[in-house]
Amino acid sequence: MEQTLKGVLDPLILAVLAEGPLHGYAVIEELKARSGGELDLPEGTVYPALHRLERRGLLRSAWTRAEGRRRRIYRLTAGGRRELASKAQEWRTFARVVEGVLP
């Protein structure tokens, strides 16, 4: 389960950020909430994914201040929205095919 989730972590992060800008901790909390607690990866692994998505131009980020600390806020770009739509479609097709075969 953990390996499968790792494989789809990027689109899951894009889906969470489609609702609005969030910082890293909030992204992880939202992932946990939406997965009913099933998504229980080491939380640090989300940050390399956030940085990777930003390098690909799917996210952009900026510093803000919260409670005296620096906080990096991530938001989806137009390219990120297109990528999310494409991945969601791909996943639905994949799920339909697998469900059609499994007993």
Binding site: T45, Y47, R69, R71
Partner: protein
């Protein structure tokens, strides 16, 4: 955790603003939840490093190919604008003539092969998040050889202009030396990007793959070399109007190809 992550990031070569940003984000995370399970700092730093180094190597490979195209155009324009080609004995010295010819002929071909293979590998692996350390090292070697060979070609062009300075129009000599200098600029920019990217250590295990990972079924070096020799034979025979001249140059091409192949077959993964 933050201190250990900082040490691990430094160990893998992530420094400066990128390191500060990662640490600030993790510090903010721990401030939100002091009991958070962030993972093992060493593995996190290695994941950041593997992905950053992969991106940088791929990007620099494509930039290097673009820089070589610019270099080739600039040097080609300078060479074809020469009104009359002086005889090989007309220059200051035969040694300089031979050195410049070797630099231009061999340097350009090594740069072409190395730069093209680097770009091909980068494109073929464009969807891979993190390449194995061996493959990143291969990309880096191909980039380094391509940049160096491109610079050698430009130096050969400048040396040729210097050698025949008194036997060609002054404007052409100045143009040739200036174009050689201009041709080096994009390569130097790539070399700087390369040096920065190479400071990151990659940990992911795995093999680099050989020439078939770049060229698929076309990965037959001797067939490629034979084609180059045949092309040289036909082109020079037609252009010079002499089969003997064509055969001589094709022979030189065969020797040059063989020597370069044996010199670079391991560092540039020209087999397998």
């Amino acid at each position: 955790v933050i201190d250990e992550l900082g040490r691990e990031l430094t160990r893998v070569g992530i420094r400066g603003r990128r390191r500060d940003r990662i640490l600030a984000e993790f510090a903010d995370h721990l401030a939100c939840d002091p009991d958070a399970n962030l993972g093992v700092p060493r593995l996190l730093a290695e994941q950041f490093a593997d992905e950053l180094a992969t991106d940088a190597a791929r990007r620099t490979a494509l930039w290097t190919f673009g820089a070589l195209v610019v270099t080739a155009i600039v040097l080609f324009v300078a060479q074809v604008s020469l009104p009359t080609i002086p005889d090989i004995t007309d220059g200051r010295s035969l040694v300089l003539a031979a050195l410049s010819a070797l630099a231009m002929v061999i340097g350009s071909q090594v740069a072409f092969v190395s730069g093209t293979l680097a770009a091909l590998r980068a494109l073929r692996r464009k969807r891979v998040t993190a390449l194995p350390a061996e493959e990143v090292a291969l990309l880096r070697r191909r980039i380094a050889v391509a940049c160096a060979a491109g610079a050698v070609t430009a130096a050969g062009s400048a040396l040729y202009a210097f050698n025949v300075w008194n036997f060609v129009p002054r404007w052409w000599s100045v143009l040739a030396v200036a174009s050689a200098g201009a041709a080096v600029v994009p390569l130097a920019a790539c070399a700087v990007a390369f040096a920065r990217a190479s400071s990151i250590t990659v940990s992911k295990p795995g093999s680099a793959g050989g020439l078939s990972a770049d060229l698929g079924a076309l990965a037959r070096p001797w067939l490629i070399g034979g084609s180059a020799v045949l092309a040289m034979l036909i082109a020079t025979s037609v252009l010079e109007g002499s089969l003997v001249e064509g055969a001589l140059r094709a022979g030189f091409e065969a020797v040059a190809f063989s020597a370069c192949f044996f010199a670079f077959r391991r560092p540039l993964a020209l087999t397998g």
